[in-house]
């Protein structure tokens, strides 16, 4: 009986997994087709002539390397900033009692629910008045702010699980609060730091609407915007478009697998325990 139910679960689970992966498999197979096979009607799933060299030629098809570099710069800078700003903030909101602490955490919860798209008109006007449109630095700042709330809530949760006595022992040994945070707390909350870093990186890597609105120069476009501008044009080199997409997707999926078990808790932080 038990074996039969597991067998059924295996069949059902595999079927669902295949459905979930199917759009990405279609993208993979399309990325391996020669240009001539893209205009076949009706469409076919598999390439007849497998062109693995599309993954070489894609780098010349559009300024793909430039787009990726831009995304990499924005995502890594904003990840670093998120960590630098969120760690002390999370620590203070976990360890210090101060008037306004509830308000601070509450405000962070509200910010986490807001998406840049809701404020895009205001963001555009503001950065225009700073003369900071078409500037990768602006993308770094905006991504950092919108990923901060998640980071603070998640790290605060991790810090609250550490017994205060651990730090107090370090203080007695002559450590300042800052040194104790660095030497005692940070090593213990490493899984939290990794989760925040990965989440902030992926969120910035995948961010679309702010980059779409603020960046106009071709050489400054991040990948997500660089790729979508071909959509709707007559001559889309789908094989190169999907080859590029998959090169961008695979590392992100691997990173995500590392931290998946902490993510749900972080995204619903403050709501249910």
């Amino acid at each position: 009986m038990a074996a039969r139910t597991t067998g059924r679960a295996t069949i059902g689970g595999t079927a669902v997994a295949v459905v979930l992966l199917s759009p990405y498999l279609v993208m993979l197979f399309t990325s391996l087709k020669p240009a001539s096979e893209l205009s076949l009607t009706p469409g076919r799933l598999l390439p007849q002539d497998w062109r693995f060299d599309n993954y070489v030629t894609m780098w010349q098809a559009a300024p793909v390397a430039r787009y990726m570099l831009n995304s990499l710069v924005v995502a890594s800078s904003s990840t670093l900033l998120v960590l630098l700003i969120a760690v002390p903030a999370a620590y203070a909101s976990a360890r210090f009692a101060f008037p306004g602490r509830r308000l601070y955490l509450f405000a962070m919860l509200v910010v986490q629910m807001l998406a840049p798209v809701a404020l895009i008109v205001g963001l555009y006007r503001e950065f225009a008045s700073f003369r900071a449109l078409d500037n990768l630095g602006s993308l770094v700042v905006i991504n950092t702010a919108f990923n901060l709330a998640f980071a603070i809530w998640l790290l605060r949760g991790f810090i609250l699980t550490i017994p205060a006595s651990l730090e107090e022992a370090a203080w007695i040994d002559g450590c300042s609060r800052q040194r104790a945070l660095l030497l005692v707390v940070l090593p213990v909350i490493r899984p939290g730091l990794v989760t925040v870093a990965v989440y902030a990186f992926i969120a910035a890597w995948n961010e679309f609407i702010v980059a779409l609105t603020l960046i106009t120069t071709e050489a400054k476009k991040p990948l997500q915007v660089g790729l979508t501008q071909f959509i709707g044009k007559d001559e889309v080199e789908w094989q190169h478009l999907f080859a590029t997409s998959l090169v961008a997707i695979v590392p992100v999926v691997v990173l995500f697998l590392l931290v998946e078990k902490h993510l749900v808790g972080g995204l619903t932080a403050g709501s249910v325990k």
């Binding site: 009706p42 798209v117 895009i120 008109v121």
Partner: protein, 286 residues
């Protein structure tokens, strides 16, 4: 510790939120009461004109209906598929790990890229969905999924549910993990059938995670931009737009009317505010 000391710990985060969230919110409201030239320069005060312009736009009622249908059906579909899927994932079986990895892929991938993939799959001439459905005898002739406003809205709802599944499944799964096997065993001993114990034990215990995912998904789907943007990109007009993409088009693409776009943004923010209020009311702050 004095305020100065505290500012060292919290200051940067407060400044950043003020600059990137609070000020743009104020700026959006302010812009909604100003009139702009086509180049984006402020011409002067507009009173409530921008709100009148947006509400009197012939597409406005249609956009509102689209948005309600998009959010409600998107959330319902996501939830109905996630419930059994999470139940399946909570079981031990060979291939469980594979299913978890498969569910991570649409979560980690940018929604833009998933949407581009679907746009290609659904393509009337070259996509693989039409030949597949024809071979399965679901349809008799190719369907122009993205070209007809009768089909595109359902397609878009399907895609938004697809990308919302992973988070919802994992959140419900972590809820299921908190239900002890003892309770279910006791129910089985008392003669409860599978469906009975699901209906009377599992579902009530899942109420917390269910409420949270429904609220979060409602806000996220309301705010979702890339799916409609990518799938609907070749269609003129606002027939298939939601209030978010409508706002964006009015402000930056079709009419380039920043003031009217700002007015629509303010209306959107009010709706989001209701969702956020419901969400934070549930929160336990300490």
């Amino acid at each position: 510790m004095g305020w100065l000391g505290l500012a060292g710990w919290l200051g940067p985060s407060v400044v950043l939120i003020l600059v990137v969230v609070v000020y743009p919110l104020i700026e959006t409201v302010r812009s909604s009461f100003q009139s702009f030239s086509l180049t984006g320069a402020v011409k002067g005060s507009a009173g409530w004109d921008n709100y009148r312009t947006i509400i009197e736009n012939p597409a406005f009622p249609r956009v509102i209906v689209n948005t309600v249908v998009w959010v409600v059906l998107g959330v319902v579909l996501t939830t109905l598929v996630s419930l059994p899927l999470a139940q399946l994932m909570s079981k031990e079986f060979w291939g469980n790990r594979f299913l978890r990895i498969a569910l991570i892929v649409p979560w980690a991938t940018s929604v833009v890229m998933s949407a581009i993939g679907f746009r290609w799959i659904l393509n009337y001439y070259y996509g693989v969905l039409n030949p597949l459905l024809m071979r399965l005898h679901v349809i008799a002739a190719p369907v122009d999924w993205l070209g007809s406003d009768r089909t595109i809205r359902w397609v878009m709802i399907g895609v938004v549910a697809f990308v919302s599944l992973p988070f919802t499944c994992f959140a419900l799964l972590s809820g299921l993990r908190t239900i002890s096997d003892d309770v279910l065993e006791a129910a089985a001993i008392d003669g409860a059938g599978r469906w009975q114990s699901y209906r009377h034990i599992v579902l009530p215990l899942l109420r917390g995670p269910l409420t949270v995912t429904v609220l979060l998904n409602s806000i996220w789907i309301f705010n979702s931009f890339p799916i409609v943007y990518v799938l609907n990109k070749s269609n003129p007009g606002y027939l298939s737009d939601t209030s978010t993409t409508f706002m964006y088009k009015v402000a930056f693409l079709t009419e380039r009317d920043v003031g009217a776009g700002a007015a629509m943004s303010v209306l959107n923010v009010i709706v989001i505010g209701v969702g956020v209020a419901l969400y934070v009311r549930r929160s336990r702050m300490e």
